[in-house]
Amino acid sequence: MNLHEYQAKELLKKYNVPVQEGFACSTVHEAEEAYRQIKNQSGSSFAVVKAQIHAGGRGKGTVKESGINGVKVAKNIDQITEFAKGILGGTLVTIQTGPAGKVVNKILVAQDMYYDGPSERKEFYLSILLDRTKKQNVIMYSTEGGMNIEDVAHDTPEKIFKEWVHPGGPLQGFQARKIAFNLGLSGEAFKNCVKFVTNLYNAYVGLDCGMLEINPLFKAADDKIIAVDCKMNIDDNALMRHADVAAMRDTTEEDPTEVEAGNHNLNFIKLDGNVGCMVNGAGLAMATMDMIQLSGGQPANFLDVGGTANAQTVEAGFKIILKDPNVKAILINIFGGIVRCDRVAAGVIEAYKTIGDIPVPIIVRLQGTNAEEAKKLIDESGLKVQSAIQLSEAAELVKQAVA
């Protein structure tokens, strides 16, 4: 599950990780109020307005309707009003959103951290994620902050450092010091960085993050170390023990069809093709999509119905797939192990009858327990459903359907 920047920062504060302070606002009025508070607290008339969407590249992206960038520095209250009006409710298009963009429902009005002071300001990069090969969490960091880390990795790989953390304990002191040294810090900034990194790692583990990225990790002119931006992803499997975090889910950021499928316990991902599919098991579902492509079609979706392919799940699956006008045929591929094929077939027939006339050809491939009985049920149902037992037969039927 992805979180918004403002939500991630709230969570980091609970782990004593210093963040750029601010207020999440849904209206222009709230933004103006937030600005007044920030101005009172910081004494500076500068503040930053940041669009809250689940995609990066906001600063360079533009809101379609107003032409304003997704991140703006305001010098006074009038600019706050202008930017809030221009961003809130608008559609922000960034390199990560695609041309359709994403509607901005909230903005973060935050203090400006780029104030003057005795030392030089610096932007670093730091992220924590799982290294699947080493089976350990790894901290990746670089002196080259504020820019696209993929570019840094490509152009100057020597500027990216990695620190693996032993699964038996927390981040050790020597590791935190090493990170601060490698970032070229000394004095107060060094001490602040050691604390920052130690607490950040605790947050990563404590919150069951899948990925935690701070870019830029900022050294202010008074040697404070601060998370100016934060991208946080939470392991879906761990949400059961973080009810407060689970409640932060913003379904408006997700595909509405995928949300609906989730409500029916279906695992659905929308794709751009012309052949819908419904399969039991994630691996077989991906393999079925591949087979559709090899047969001359393009998969319209990924849909894993899991271990319980009954009339209700099949009906829900049909309805979700049929929402897509590009679908020219639907392939149901079930390998019945514990679940019996004749029961799945009965479910398909029942679901078909409940929905009424389905406008596209349906191909049902049922293999495994009671496959022959299932084929007979389908063939004798009188419905416009073609049946197959072998996967190669199903592939041939798909080929005919899309020809």
Binding site: L130, R132, T133, K135, Q136, N137, H166, P167, G168, V205, D208, G210, D235, D236, N237, A238, M240, R241, N267, I269, L271, G273, V279, N280, G281, A282, G283, L284, A285, M286, A287, T288, M289, D290, M291, I292, Q293, L294, Q298, P299, F302, D304, F335, G336, G337, I338, Q367, G368, T369, Q390, L391, S392, A394, A395
Partner: protein, 290 residues
């Protein structure tokens, strides 16, 4: 003896008396698995399915001589169950549970270092040695006895492969579902190595999917250690990058994560790669000249 399990394996079920545990324990007993009991904390001393229930895995090892365990406990407690089994000296732990938090598995995986315990899974269908012993949730009848080994990240795709192998006039020695999570116990390469050294296996079907580097690792090992033919398939040629395709580990992050990249590496290492999942069985028959 095929690999991992056989008719002499003494199997216990962790999460024995729950719905899942009860259902699949019954199925395993029907298949002929030597199921010697189960563990449900707090229900020790009772019997279930005519077999003793123990409070701890340690007790099951001492009193019933268990050396294999299958885990059906809920996700929040599954990593703990794995560590308990390892601590009690269980040689093979098969964890079926789906949805274990990744950080829990990081800990459990580390806990296994230096022990004699091998973990299969989690989020897997288990292990079956055809005709002898089923430690999993797969439909037993699909696995006709024979001399083909199967290692796979996916459940139903394993059944598909076993079925096609049977239709091609061949059969299965052992099938291992290693699971689709980011952190798992036994890797593709480790299972492949076991098959290469198994006198009762003549050839191997290796099924992978997008995400992670296990297939490439297995292929590179195979290039140096090939003794028997391998037929390979990678699911997810049409999967979009950055999306989790059902399995927690099935996500394209980097360049070597894609099906295309994995299939290329596998082919270069001498594996017979099939593009369509419908061709697994007939390709195996062709490779073996049958």
């Amino acid at each position: 003896m095929s690999i991992l399990v056989n008719k002499n394996s003494k199997v216990i079920v962790q999460g024995f008396t729950g719905t899942e545990g009860t259902f699949h324990a019954t199925q395993m007993i029907e298949y002929g698995t030597n199921l010697v009991g189960g563990v449900t904390p707090g229900k020790g001393g009772t019997t279930h399915l005519d077999r003793p229930v123990f409070n701890t895995v340690e007790e099951a090892v001492q009193k019933a001589g268990a050396n294999v365990s299958i885990i059906f406990v809920p996700p929040a407690f599954a990593a703990d169950a794995i560590m308990e089994a390892a601590n009690a000296g269980i040689e093979l732990v098969v964890c079926i549970t789906e949805g274990i938090p990744v950080q829990d598995m990081v800990k459990a995986k580390n806990y296994l270092v230096g022990t004699n315990t091998r973990l299969i899974g989690p989020n897997c269908p288990g292990v079956i040695t055809a005709g002898e012993c089923k430690v999993g949730i797969m439909p037993g009848f699909v696995f006709k006895q024979g001399r083909i080994g199967i290692v796979s990240k996916s459940g139903t795709l394993t059944y598909e492969a076993a079925d096609q192998v049977a239709k091609a006039g061949l059969g299965v020695s052992t099938a291992v579902g290693i699971g689709g999570d980011p952190i798992i116990g036994t890797t593709t390469k480790e299972a492949l190595e076991l098959f290469m050294n198994d006198p009762e296996t003549d050839a191997v079907v290796m099924i992978g999917e997008i995400g992670g580097g296990m297939e490439a690792e297995a292929a590179r090992w195979y290039k140096e250690n090939a003794k028997k033919p391998v037929v390979g398939f990678i699911a997810g040629q049409t999967a979009p990058p950055g999306r989790r395709m059902g399995h927690a580990g099935a996500i394209i992050g980097g360049a070597e994560d894609t099906a295309e990249a994995k299939m290329k590496i596998m082919a270069e290492c001498g594996i017979n790669v099939v593009a369509s999942p419908a061709d697994i069985g007939k390709t195996m028959a062709a490779v073996l000249g049958k």
